[in-house]
Amino acid sequence: MKKKSSSELSDKETLGVPVQTILFHLTGQIVESSGSIAELAERIVKNSNLFQYFPIVENLVSILTNDIKEDSIEIPKVEVRWNTKLYRIYDLTLERIKQNSLVPLKCTILDLTDHYGKLTSTQQERNEKVIKEQSKA
């Protein structure tokens, strides 16, 4: 069973999905952050460093700058465990805003934990069963 990533979802399907938009410098320093993802709203504030919370973004900035010609990258299903109780799955898009802009990068984060949640339990059960059978063989 394949679950659609955010770019494949219709407007109706993404309606109500918590989203956070963050403008930041190449160093990870946040200039502005707004949105409705609670765990991000309390951590990701002006002048804090986005890389501290999302190491993947530091890597994506490097890839966007050095490795590819495109102006944006979408990475679906980024898993983040904030603590023992708080686990989230985000779709993340990193965009170059435009050359000579004072703030060069924008990161858009969609919290699709609920959307992917059923897939997680189904895949866990299926994989456990298959691994058990294959280990016996």
């Binding site: 050095n66 299903k77 992917y116 895949q123 994989n127």
Partner: protein, 160 residues
């Protein structure tokens, strides 16, 4: 410090997340927890040329690697392809998967890793080594060869 991306790829349940947790956090959990998408974390390692920040991508296991989202491969300097010594079925697609990875990332360093050494007898390891050019045999549980794998890779990708 420029981060260098290294990906863990392979079938599900072969121990990619265990290798990730052993290398990044020095932890090991006997329980199996599926990976749905990707987990990313970093670790700074010392090489003979200087310090290097490894960005390790632990992706969801797929029976064949062409099912991995294309954007996950972007910018990878190395791929660690893991198979499970206890489940020979995870050996079935090694050659086609490695060919696919080399096609997608022609400049990347690719390592073939036989994991779960602690659970098999020497004959099984020899069997795998006879069939494939295994780069290293590891055990995430006992830590055997895990540091060696990633430190060796750090040396190789430093200048890429």
């Amino acid at each position: 410090m420029i981060p260098k991306k290294i990906m863990l790829a392979g079938n599900f349940g072969v121990g990619k997340t265990s290798l990730f947790n052993r290398f990044i956090h020095n932890t090991f959990d006997e329980a199996y927890f599926t990976t749905i998408g990707v987990k990313v974390d970093s670790k700074v390692v010392e090489t003979s040329k200087g310090s290097l920040k490894i960005m390790l991508w632990d992706i969801a296991g797929e029976v064949t690697q062409d099912k991995v989202p294309r954007t996950y491969w972007l910018g990878s300097k190395a791929v660690v392809y893991v198979f499970d010594l206890t489940r020979p079925i995870t050996w079935d697609n090694i050659e086609s998967d490695l060919n696919f990875i080399r096609e997608v990332l022609p400049k990347a360093v690719v390592k073939l890793v036989a994991n779960k050494k602690d659970l098999v007898k020497q004959e099984r390891i020899l069997d795998a080594e006879e069939q494939f050019e295994v780069d290293i045999v590891t055990s995430a549980k006992t830590k055997e060869n895990v540091e060696e794998l990633f430190n060796g890779l750090a040396e190789e990708v430093y200048s890429i």
